[in-house]
């Protein structure tokens, strides 16, 4: 199934709302780290409901654009804001429709690993970032997060499962400096008492704690030279 078909279906089911709610636990502290300034232009790759741009606008960025491969998702996102400085477009990670040196920061949450050719996406990001611009890439599907390993079974789009080091290497290969790498815990999700397990697919409480509090989401920050 194509990205478009898969995520058009997600949008039809309203899944962008549940994602926003859950991803916000880790997106909030990550977005807070981005050194945005008034006047900046920010791009959100795989924007889903578009919540990240709405949040960054409250910090004064000049313009936010959300790109998504699913027309239905982009339509949903557009419906959630009437802020003139936030816009959405349909496009593919591998073929970014943005000019060279045109963007100050790129953010992407739980989306990068769906790319058809992640190395190419990194080159594209490097191309569109202004010197000193950052790429904040957050992924919860990654090698060290063992609980994520079986997610591929539930989705027909092929996913890339790199480890921490592979992320750093791929960023550098694409010409981005690696400024930071961090596992950002989800401190907000409720984890019930041990007696409630199995719960949400976790055999025991320890496994759920490890999944959320330890591995959370992997953040890699790249900077254009």
């Amino acid at each position: 199934m194509s990205v478009r078909e898969e995520f058009d279906a997600w949008a039809a089911e309203g899944r962008e709302q549940g994602m926003e709610e859950r991803h916000w636990h880790t997106a909030r502290p990550i977005l807070a780290r981005i050194p945005v300034e008034d006047g900046d232009t920010v791009l959100d790759l795989g924007t889903g409901s578009g919540y990240a741009l709405r949040a960054l606008r409250e910090r004064g960025i000049d313009a936010g654009y959300g790109l998504d491969g699913s027309p239905e998702m982009a339509r949903k996102a557009a419906g959630y804001t009437d802020d003139d400085a936030v816009g959405f477009l349909v496009g593919d990670f591998d073929h970014l429709p943005f000019a060279d040196d045109s963007v100050d920061h790129v953010f992407s949450m739980e989306a990068f690993y769906y790319a058809n050719d992640p190395d190419r996406v990194l080159s594209e990001i490097r191309r569109i970032l202004r010197p000193g611009g950052t790429f904040y890439c957050a992924v919860n599907y990654y090698e060290e997060n063992v609980a994520s390993h079986d997610w591929q079974a539930n989705i027909e789009v092929e996913m890339t499962r790199w480890n921490r080091e592979q992320y750093r290497e791929a960023f550098r290969e694409a010409g981005l400096h690696v400024a930071e790498q961090d596992t950002v815990p989800d401190r907000e999700i409720e984890i019930p008492e041990a007696s409630a397990f199995p719960h949400e697919g976790f055999a025991d409480r320890g496994a759920m704690v490890e999944r959320y509090r330890t591995w959370g989401t992997l953040l890699t920050v790249g900077v254009a030279p």
Partner: protein, 62 residues
């Protein structure tokens, strides 16, 4: 879409500038129209205010 998007948007295939043709406008917003690559001539639709800049083969795969 806002016309200001034109400042940073380009053809997803060859990265050349796009030309905007507006069919319908509402306030500052472009509701429908076409973006055409000034180099390869490929055109991309704007529908319900949202430009679709998927590569043509991904756009038309249904």
């Amino acid at each position: 879409m806002k016309e200001s998007l034109m400042e940073i948007v380009c053809c997803p295939m060859d990265k050349h500038d796009l030309e905007l043709d507006v069919d319908e406008r509402d306030d500052g917003e472009i509701i429908s129209g076409t973006l055409t690559c000034t180099d390869c001539g490929e055109s991309y639709p704007i529908e319900d205010g949202i430009p679709n800049l998927l590569p043509p083969d991904m756009r038309d795969d249904d």
